[in-house]
Symmetry: C2
Subunit: 210 residues, 2 copies
DNA sequence: TGTAATATCACATCATGATGTGATTGTGCG
DNA sequence: CGCACAATCACATCATGATGTGATATTACA
């Protein structure tokens, strides 16, 4: 197996040292750059001969946050894979990091052995998530338990049409009822969901809040 | 650690045997039911004393597909966690299984040791994905390469407000411009995106097609 | 049997959205 | 310099959406 080149952006001195020490002892992984901030990292890579294939990235950094740094890093190193290594495990951070282009997300509690495993997995074109984080991600797909019966079946049909971009007139046609009936349904839907515009309805629908 | 009770739905005789043999040798895991179809499984669990906490589920089954079976299984065993174990690794199967409520997804190539690990991880409230599958999932979050420059920065601001559920009037207020300016922007946005309603705009935005 | 919930329709009114035409200003680029 | 383009504003018009009030028929359940 060829050596994997690694970059690390991490502002905690202790974590830096422990990672450095560990990877120095690993023949398969070569840490080519260690920085305390995204800004530093971006200037430093310009003078490197061998660029990192994998970047371990913290979120809570001096200067720019790791999440905001992802697009910049990918811009400079389009082929690099980014692995988040952070204490933040809230849905929002995870979601934002993945959307920005990170391809793996590890809790800082992860053992060095597992971090190494994750690096190797990512290098092979896969991805590894900490179990707790993977669970949060799958939960974001799963249907809400509050499969709330806020809406009647008929109302859900109407919502489906609206979300599909249909006008009242088209809905009336599709469902073989009058426009006024559609209006009434929508009025009741708005009341049930405590909203008052199509935009909010579509948003709720996409966010699975029905 | 208390014993984990397991159910398996798998129609390949060989896989059944190899799983059975393996788990019989594991003190931590007790396979309480092995079926060849979702239908069989659902009738058989009625006569069980100890219900499975975890279900290993194949997709390609006689009768109902594993994916279609997920809601039925969760209905009977609301506390159970479902782990997919299948050769199907296409995005669509993965997406559908997770949306239906599966909480883990393993390739059939996964070693028995890793399957056991996955069961334990899931039992602790986490989730484990095969690396190749995890990668597909994260890719579904990542931004489209076609970060299309169809819209100007200002137009993107307007879209953000619309998607947020704001009316033209509110947008005009927020951005300190007149309603007519907002109208013009939206007109141009519609032209650029070849659409003609707010609903379609919000849809495109949520589907990352901007 | 009566009441609640659902689904249907009507009429009215005002707000908002969609679309067209036209104009001004500033910025950047070849 | 002149052109393209982004961003701003105005006026006009018609379609659509939001909201209220009221009514009828059906089903479902206590």
């Amino acid at each position: 197996m060829s050596t994997i080149t690694l970059g690390i952006i991490e502002d905690d001195q202790l974590v830096q040292e422990s990672l450095n020490e560990f990877f120095n002892a690993q023949a398969e992984i070569d840490c080519v750059l260690m920085s305390s901030s995204v800004e530093d990292f971006l200037t430093s890579i310009k003078s490197l001969e061998t660029l990192p294939e994998i970047i371990l990235l913290d979120i809570n950094l001096l200067g720019m946050s790791g999440i905001d740094g992802i697009p910049l890093l990918l811009n400079e190193l389009p082929k690099a894979d980014i692995i988040m290594l952070t204490t933040f495990e809230d849905n929002d951070s995870i979601y934002k990091a993945l959307c920005a282009g990170a391809c793996s997300y590890l809790s800082k509690k992860t053992s060095l052995k597992k971090i190494k495993e994750a690096i190797e997995v990512v290098h092979k074109g896969g991805s590894y998530m900490s179990p707790s984080i993977a669970r949060k991600i799958v939960n974001s797909f799963a249907p809400k338990k509050n499969q709330s019966n806020l809406l009647t079946p008929r109302q859900k049909e109407i919502v489906a049409e609206i979300v599909d971009g249909k006008s009242y007139k088209m809905i009336a046609n599709d469902l073989f009822v009058s426009i006024d009936t559609v209006r009434t349904h929508i009025k009741n839907i708005y009341k049930a969901l405590e909203i008052n515009s199509k935009a909010e309805l579509i948003k709720k629908s996409y966010d699975n809040e029905l």
